[in-house]
Structures are given as structure tokens and as C-alpha cells.
């Protein structure tokens, strides 16, 4: 297992380098330029100076190599410095956002908590709802519970989050006035009062995203349970005279969880990616909102860095899913 993991990590390096190049080229070739952000009243020679100062005028490969160096060498050093109070990265050029002129990684660190608390808790809640629903739906296939679960999952799948989000705002903020419609990022949780306020403002975006996640995962859980319920070894377990609870929870569920765990692990990078649309609807100032603003403003370093971080996470969680698979299923060994 360890050799497999190390081998996969080594293989991930060329993959990620290639991905970073593709992202860089895509972002660079995309229409829109940083120059469009500079007001037309600025004289041409000043414009040129600004562009030169941003490094946007250099040849493509120079900018790419510089970005590589900044991402893989300077930023880790900066992180090391902040963690241990050293000053190795002193005077080095960090990746700087063209929009705000501040280091990209600092902005990302600022935005990460919002995304993790809202999108992350929505994912956890979605999984916690989905698993029991999926298990019971499969066990009582075609019962009214299963039909209802299927119906709700269908809604969760097919109704886009910008619609459910707006409906929730209309009902619970505008009409009932229970929850605020705008997420207040500056709220600090210090006491019970502010904690309640935080829960309230998280409720609606979390509900929208949890419905969407639960819809998907409950379907996976259900179909995986159904696959296993029909297996011969389940009949064997019943013939042994095991209690129904043991048959379902020990024999069927453990085998059914293998593919579901993989799906859940593969879904985790999307948490970091943020739910772009939902964050926009509820004005959550997270990574999704950051990315969309950077795209609007042709902020190439920001888009490049964010997208590449997502790519790294996806590659990592693919590996984690594979390792989990090997741990859960004794038939799979990576040696």
C-alpha cells in the first residue's frame, strides 16, 4: 500500500505540471486582458508602465516559469515563515493578484473559512442525511418511503441551486423573516448570541447545498445497497439464521459502502472549489465568489492559482479514494 501511494504521488507530479501548463495557456488565450481594467483616462505611457510592473508584458514561457517558481518555491517558503516565524522568503516576489495587488495566497486563506464552513458543513449534512435514506430506500424498495426519497432526490438533482436558493430567500427571508438573505462574512462568533446568528445565516445556503449533495449520494447508496441485497451471500447470511439487523448492517451495508465511500471522497474537492452559484446567491464571500470575480476582472494570476489548487485537490482525493478502496475491499491489493 505504501509503495503504491508513493508511486502514485510520483506519477502525480508530471500530471500536475501538465495540468498547470494547460490551465496557464487556457487562461492566457482567453479573451479579455488586464489592460481593460485600467481606466481610459490613464495616459498610454503610464498604462505601459503599469503593465510592465505587473509583468503582464513578458513572453508566455517566462511568465509560466515565474509562476511555477512562485507557486512551488516562494509560496511554500512564505507558509513556512508564517508557521515558524523564520524569514527565508524575505524579499522574494510572491504571486500577486492583478486586481487587488495583494498576494493571491493571502486572499485565498482569508476566503477559505467561509467556504469550508458553509459548503463543508452542507456536504457533511448531505452525507449524513443521504446514507440512512439510501439504506432504507433500498431495503424497502418501491415502498412509499422509497418513492418519496426518489421524488425528493429527483428534485434535488434537477432543480438548480440558484432556483431553490431564491425560493428559500423568498419564503424564509422576505415573507417569514426567519433568516437573513445575505451572509455576513465579518460576523465573529464570540458568544451564544453571535453563534445563533451564525447558524441562522448559514441555514439557507447549507440547506440548498445539502439537498443537492444528499440527492446524489442517496442514489448511489440506494443502488449500491440494491446490488448487494441481491447477492448470494446475503441469502447465505439469512440461511445462517442471522438477525435481519445483522444481515443488513453487517453483511450488506459494509459491502455497499465501498463504492459510496469512493464517491464521497471524490466529492470533497468540490467543497474547496466552493459552490460558485450558491455563494453568489447568498453573497457568501468564499472561494467560489473569489474565482468568479477574478474571471470577470481578467485577474490571470488569481484564476491560474485557484484553478491549479483545485486540480491538485482532485488528484489528491482520487488517490485517497483509491487507497480507501484498497483498505475497505480485501479483494483489492496494490502490491
Amino acid at each position: 500500500m505504501l509503495t503504491f501511494t508513493i508511486r502514485r504521488l510520483l506519477m502525480a507530479i508530471p500530471t500536475l505540471l501538465f495540468i498547470s501548463l494547460v490551465i496557464f495557456l487556457l487562461v492566457d488565450f482567453a479573451p479579455g486582458s488586464p489592460m481593460s481594467q485600467i481606466p481610459l483616462t490613464v495616459p498610454p505611457e503610464v498604462r505601459l508602465k503599469i503593465i510592465e510592473a505587473m509583468g503582464a508584458n513578458d513572453p508566455l514561457f517566462v511568465r509560466y516559469l515565474l509562476w511555477l517558481k512562485q507557486f512551488f518555491w516562494v509560496e511554500p517558503l512564505v507558509l513556512f515563515d508564517t508557521l515558524f516565524g523564520t524569514s527565508h522568503a524575505h524579499g522574494m516576489q510572491r504571486i500577486v493578484s492583478w486586481q487587488s495587488r495583494s498576494p493571491v495566497m493571502d486572499i485565498i486563506w482569508q476566503r477559505l473559512p467561509q467556504t469550508l464552513s458553509v459548503v463543508g458543513s452542507a456536504y457533511v449534512i448531505g452525507v449524513l442525511i443521504a446514507l440512512p435514506i439510501g439504506i432504507y430506500s433500498a431495503y424497502r424498495q418501491y415502498s412509499w418511503f422509497d418513492q418519496l426519497g426518489t421524488f425528493i432526490a429527483m428534485i434535488g438533482f434537477s432543480v438548480p441551486t440558484f432556483f431553490t436558493g431564491v425560493v428559500l430567500i423568498l419564503v424564509f427571508s422576505v415573507n417569514l423573516g426567519w433568516f437573513p438573505s445575505i451572509y455576513d462574512t465579518s460576523l465573529r462568533v464570540t458568544d451564544w448570541e453571535s453563534f445563533l446568528k451564525q447558524v441562522k445565516q448559514m441555514a439557507m445556503p447549507v440547506a440548498v447545498l445539502a439537498l443537492y449533495n444528499a440527492a446524489q449520494i442517496s442514489r448511489y447508496m440506494r443502488s449500491s445497497m440494491l446490488d448487494n441485497l441481491a447477492q448470494d451471500y446475503v441469502r447465505t447470511a439469512r440461511a445462517k439464521g442471522m438477525a435481519e439487523r445483522v444481515v443488513v448492517l453487517k453483511h450488506v451495508l459494509r459491502n455497499s459502502l465501498i463504492p459510496v465511500v469512493t464517491v464521497i471522497a471524490l466529492g470533497i474537492p468540490t467543497i474547496f472549489g466552493g459552490a460558485i452559484i450558491t455563494e453568489q446567491v447568498f453573497k457568501v464571500n468564499g472561494l467560489g465568489a473569489l474565482l468568479i470575480n477574478a474571471i470577470h476582472g481578467s485577474d490571470l494570476p488569481m484564476v491560474q492559482t485557484l484553478t491549479f489548487i483545485f486540480a491538485v485537490l482532485i488528484v489528491m482525493f482520487n488517490l485517497i479514494a483509491d487507497v480507501l478502496y484498497g483498505m475497505l475491499d480485501p479483494r483489492i491489493r496494490y502490491d
Binding site: D232, Y233, T236, M242, R254, D329
Partner: protein, 354 residues
Amino acid sequence: MLDASPKPIPPLVQVRGLKMYFPIYTGLLRRHTGDVKAVDGVSFDIMPGETLGLVGESGCGKSTVGRALLRLYEITGGNVVINGTDIATLGPEALRKARPQMQMVFQDPQASLNPRMTLADIIGEPLDEHTDWNSDRKLARVYELMDAVGLNRRFANRFPHEFSGGQRQRIGIARALALNPRFIVCDEPIAALDVSIQAQVVNLLEDLQDKLGLTYLFISHDLSMVRHIADRVAVMYLGRIAELSPRDALYARPLHPYAEALLSAVPEPDPTLARARQRIILQGDVPSPANPPKGCNFCTRCPKAFDLCRRVKPELAEVEPGRFVACHLFSDTAAAGSTGASEAKERNQQGVTQ
């Protein structure tokens, strides 16, 4: 060999009028429009220590009989009395308590073992559920069972996929034996194995029967293997028993036309005998069990069918000592003339008595 003379020992397994219908739902509203009559009124007895072979072509309901007998299906009708308890009517908890005395060896040794459990877990799990032994005693029992089926004790912590087909089937047998059952249904235990391993497994089953006094229902489509292991043989066709006879009598002189045709299909190893042999080749296909023929189930393909066969279903009746046949050729009414059709049915309704 058992004969028809009344015995003081009661049969271990008594099956009367066993019916297993699988409902068919069709149309927009999934209305119940019919049934697949997989098993349609099957009756037989199995004496303690006996092996009853159950043969028939694919889809005739052999496996369904085996599973319904242990109530792995909710049966549609009939009685199954095993060791004095009517399995067909037990509640879920009572049924679970009754499971130790009746076990099953399944057809597919790969699929019937939980892939995520080790051999020791698989064999020992029934002990967790039905005994209050401590773990040492359970492990000792697991080792004892592994010895009994010829598995090396070192394999106890391996997973099913690490074994060959024959070894897996022996795991399945050890698992079935764990709780000292009296009656074991062997549902085509050798169908998924290659020939050299088949002999091993069948001999193991025979040895265990001698040692532990087991009673088997041996389901198979391999007629020569059934001839080797069974004391009596039941031939099934389309959910009903066509003939139930002692082994030697059946193989020497099958009475039911279907049994005759089936046995003529057994390959003959001697080429000169094989050339001289008359093979009965049946025409047409097996009718659908959802819509069986009105009269005898076999009348559509029977070379000896006559008028009565297409109108009245023949009941299983004892035509010679110990030999039961469901065929109008052997019923008294048919021999006397084809007048009393309904009378014939009434007279034979009692089914089998030993």
C-alpha cells in the same frame, strides 16, 4: 434402499403440496396479472440419514424447491415439516431459532461467501448468533470444522477470493455444518466446479453423512453424480415431480416418459454401447411456467401423450412399491379407459404417503 413397507421411524422432512409462485406485475399500474408457478404442488418425504436426489433440466424449479424448503422464500402454499416443526408457518424469530437444524450448501461458492469476511468469520458467524460460547471455544469449533472438510488451519484468516473453487465450496460446507444441522439442502453444490473437484466434494459430502448422520436433499442436473450419491431420486419437470423412485430402479427402468427421456441423455462412456443406445430426443421447448399447459405439464412434448393427458393433470401416485409417478399411462383409470377423468384426479389427490 427404502421400500414402501411402513417404517416405525417418521420421516425427517415432510413436504406436502409445496407451492412457490412468483407474482408478475405488468402494465402502467403494476397490476398483479399472473404468477410464475416455479413450484406447483410438490410433495415428498426424506427419511433420516437418507439422500434424496432432485434432478431436472434448468428452470424446472429444483433450486426453488430447495430454497422454499428452508424458507429462504416466503412460500405460496403447502407444508414443510422438518423434524416435527412446520417451517412454512413459523414467525420470523422462531424461524431464526429453527435455522440451526437445517442448512444449505449453495451453488456458487464465490458469490455465496461475503467477500469482506475472513474464513474464520464466515464459519464462526452462526456460532456468534446461536450460541453463547466464548471466543476460544468458537475458534476451536472453527478449526474442528476446517479439519472436517480438509482445509488447512493456517487459512483461517484469509478471504474467500484467495481460495480455489473447490476450497470455497468446502468453506461453504463447513459453514453449513457449524451448528450441527440434521438436514442439509445441497443446491447444485458441484455445478460450478470442474470434474476432478466435483468428485472430491461429493465424496466429502458422503463422508460427512456417514460420520454425522446427515440427511441431504441433493439438487443437481448431473444425473451420473446423483446416481452416485442419492438413495432415492425425484425427477422434476416444470414445477412438479414427474417421478420419485429408488435410485437403482429409476436408472434401470424409468417409468415416466420424461424421466426416460432425461436418463437417455446421460452420456455413455463405452462407444459400442453408445452407438447401440436409443436416445430419446424431445421436440419443442419447455412451456412457460407462467402459463403451463392445461393437462399434464409434459403433454406438449411427451411422445406417449394421449387425449386424457391434455385435459387432466396427473397426480403423483404410487404405481409400484416405493415408486411414485405422475402419469396417466400408469393410473388405473387411464388403463381402464379414459372415462373417469375427474374421478382420477380425486382419487390421487392424497399425494404421497410413505
